[in-house]
Subunit: 101 residues, 2 copies
Amino acid sequence: MAHGHLDLLLLGVLRRGGPLHGYAVIAGLRDASGGEFDLPEGTVYPALHKLERNGFVRSDWSIVDGRKRRLYALTGTGRAALAAKKKEWAMFRSGVDAVLA
Amino acid sequence: MAHGHLDLLLLGVLRRGGPLHGYAVIAGLRDASGGEFDLPEGTVYPALHKLERNGFVRSDWSIVDGRKRRLYALTGTGRAALAAKKKEWAMFRSGVDAVLA
DNA sequence: CGCCATACCTAGATAATCTAGGTATGGCGC
DNA sequence: GCGCCATACCTAGATTATCTAGGTATGGCG
């Protein structure tokens, strides 16, 4: 469903909303995209873990509303990666549009 | 490299250029996209075969410039599929852009 | 006549994403 | 106070898409 642009979307939604937990990432993506991206947990959680392994996000367990949640936040590296991926996306997008024009 | 939109690109390039053979599809995609999509043969040929199995393109062997080439052309079904995939692309595109906005 | 670009192809590897499970807990209705 | 549902997290394995790395054949050029 995210067709190879999942990392971009995850980094993007984290940049908008500040620290978010997994479920909120899914909900944020669904809302921000107008329902276009309603990703399964089994897609999002492993992807967040990979982003953390790569140093693009950092996570902390905290208790919000009396519930344990793992909050994900962008790192500096992640912000830079987001900027790079946004450029790639812009090129990809105009490449596709050019072929379809 | 085509991140899940390969079929769209192949159908799109065939719509622009009329019947094309495999190599010309690759070159057409490279040129039309301004170099963004320079796909390996091992990606394009199997994808064209799959499009043909699905009835989206039709192929005929012919001799062009004294060389055997398999020319691919859009079918009616393929044209409809292209229209549908263009709509999907537009939604995908605005979904991503909305998340990044 | 040998080589290179063109032209076609497939098998197997790799990578991304999804399916289908599993666990735990807070709050709500009864 | 108990059962259930939504929230919240997770992983293993399957699936799918795409790429890598090969292979073959031929026309034209030096």
